[in-house]
Every structure is written in C-alpha cells, then in structure tokens.
C-alpha cells in the first residue's frame, strides 16, 4: 500500500514539476505547482508528518499559491517569449542540472544506513511537535512572528503606491489610483 501510494504521488509530483517547466503560460505553471505541493503533502503523511501535511496544504497549496495566481491575474501575465538569453540558458542549464542531479543521486545511493518507511511506523503527532516547538524553540518561534510582521509591512509598502510614474497599461494605473484613494 505504501509502495503504491509512494509511486502514485511521486508520479503526480514529477509530472507536475515537468509540466511547470513545459507550460509557457504562468497560470498553467501555477496550477501544476499546486499539484506538486498537494502530492508532497501526501508524501509527508506517508512519512508520518501529519501536521506538516496539513500545513503544506493550507500554507503552500492554499495561501502562497492563491497569492501567485492572484498576481498572475492582476498583472495579466501572458505567454513568455523565447529570446537569445533563453537559448544560452538552455545550453548551460541542462548540462549543469544533469551534473547536479548526478552528484546528489550518487551521494544518496552510496550512503549507508538509511532506513525504510512503512505505514506501520506511527505518526509524529502535533502534540509532540508543539511540545518541542513551544518549550525549546519558543524564541525562534516568536522571532518568526516578527519576521512575518515585517514581511507584511514590506509587502504593503512595496505594492501600495510607488512614486515612479507608471508607463504600463491602464488597468494597473486605475488600480493604483483606487488603492491610493482609500
């Protein structure tokens, strides 16, 4: 059962990731990234990380990808164009990636002592996780909340107005005026 689920969702994962690269329209890429993240959530569950599986669905497949699709639609992003830079990036990129994958795979396959995962392994409960998180790692947790606050302020400051005059399309300009008027 574990093997079947592993292969099924590994297939979804890799298909989604490859589809992300093949699609030329950003919204299709975003949707295939959602497939990747949701299948990763199932793989986390297979590894016994129940809290992370739920957080993966809520935070990644939910919040972050909604943000992505929202920006794709807001900016009306069209098909990407092939340029000279993309040809040279392909010429360098494919060999480099093959080398990276080869090195990592060699290291993984030669390493000893890695165990196996099965469905009867038991689950790391949210209670165990929060016990460590809120006792030993309380300070990093609180610092992260400050980070989130700063990120919110930064995002609002960056995206709200901007003093450079827009020479974009009208929609962006009209949107800007409405947000500035609020």
């Amino acid at each position: 059962m574990h093997l079947i689920l592993f292969f099924l969702f590994t297939g979804f994962c890799l298909a989604g990731a490859i589809n992300l690269l093949l699609q030329s329209h950003p919204i299709s890429s975003a949707l295939s990234l959602i497939v990747v993240m949701t299948s990763l959530a199932v793989l986390y569950l297979l590894l016994g990380a129940e809290f992370l599986a739920i957080a993966q669905v809520i935070v990644y497949a939910g919040a972050i990808m909604v943000l992505f699709t929202f920006v794709v639609m807001l900016l009306n992003a069209g098909r990407e164009e092939r340029t000279r830079g993309s040809r040279s990036a392909r010429a360098v990129g494919f060999p480099a990636v093959v080398v990276i994958l080869g090195v990592i795979a060699t290291v993984i396959l030669r390493s000893q002592g890695l165990g196996a995962a099965s469905l009867s392994d038991g689950i790391t409960s949210t209670e165990d996780l929060s016990r460590v998180l809120f006792h030993e790692l309380l300070l990093p947790f609180e610092v992260t909340s400050v980070l989130i606050l700063i990120a919110i302020l930064g995002a609002v400051a960056l995206a709200s107005h901007g003093d450079s005059e827009p020479h974009g399309n009208r929609d962006t300009y009209g949107n800007r005026e409405r947000t500035a008027g609020k």
Binding site: T10, I18, L20, F51, L67, V97, I100, A116, L129, L133
Partner: protein
C-alpha cells in the same frame, strides 16, 4: 509474497525524489523567462528541500527536522509576499515580466 511486493519504501527513494524536484526547480530557474515562473521554481526548490528534511526526520526519529520544515514554510510565506510585491513594483516601473528586459542594474 512480501518480498515480491514489499510493504516498505526505502528512504533513499524519497531523497531521490527530493533531488529530482530540486533539479527541476534549478532547471526552471535557469530556462524560464517569466519573472513569476522563475519565482515559482524557487518555491519548487524550497519544497524539495522540505521533503528531504521530513525524510531525515523520519530516519532519525527527530521532531526537530519537522520543526525546521515548519520554519521554512513560514519564511517561504513571508518571502512569497515580499517577492510578489517586488514583482508588482517591477511591473509597474517597467511594464514587463520578461527577465531579459529587466536589466536596469546590468553594466
């Protein structure tokens, strides 16, 4: 029967999947020409690293590996918010999302 159809999956397969996803993310980062898709490739790489964190947490029965993934998720959320705001600002200034045309800081 059980040797023919094993009930458990070696953890190295999870690590190989993580490596494959990371490589696809690097490839996307290099060959995609749209700013938003490049950013999505970065998210793909973060997810691949998260998978190997969870795998090692399972291997060593350590909860802290999963907590690290939790922190990576929070940082990724903050990064996505700021990064997409920067993309909106760039689009407003340059009216394009093609990475080849955003070359103001090139010598």
């Amino acid at each position: 029967m059980s040797s023919f159809f094993p009930q458990e999956v070696p953890l190295s397969w999870y690590l190989l999947l993580s490596a494959a996803l990371f490589s696809l993310g690097v490839l996307g980062f290099l060959i995609k020409r749209n700013l938003i898709t490049v950013f999505m490739s970065i998210e793909l790489m973060l997810n691949a690293v998260n998978l190997s964190f969870v795998t090692f947490a399972h291997q060593w029965h350590a909860v802290k590996g999963q907590i690290f993934v939790f922190f990576v998720m929070m940082v990724a959320a903050a990064e996505a918010a700021v990064g997409l705001a920067i993309i909106i600002a760039v689009f407003r200034a340059r009216a394009t999302l093609a990475v080849d045309r955003i070359d103001l800081m090139k010598l």
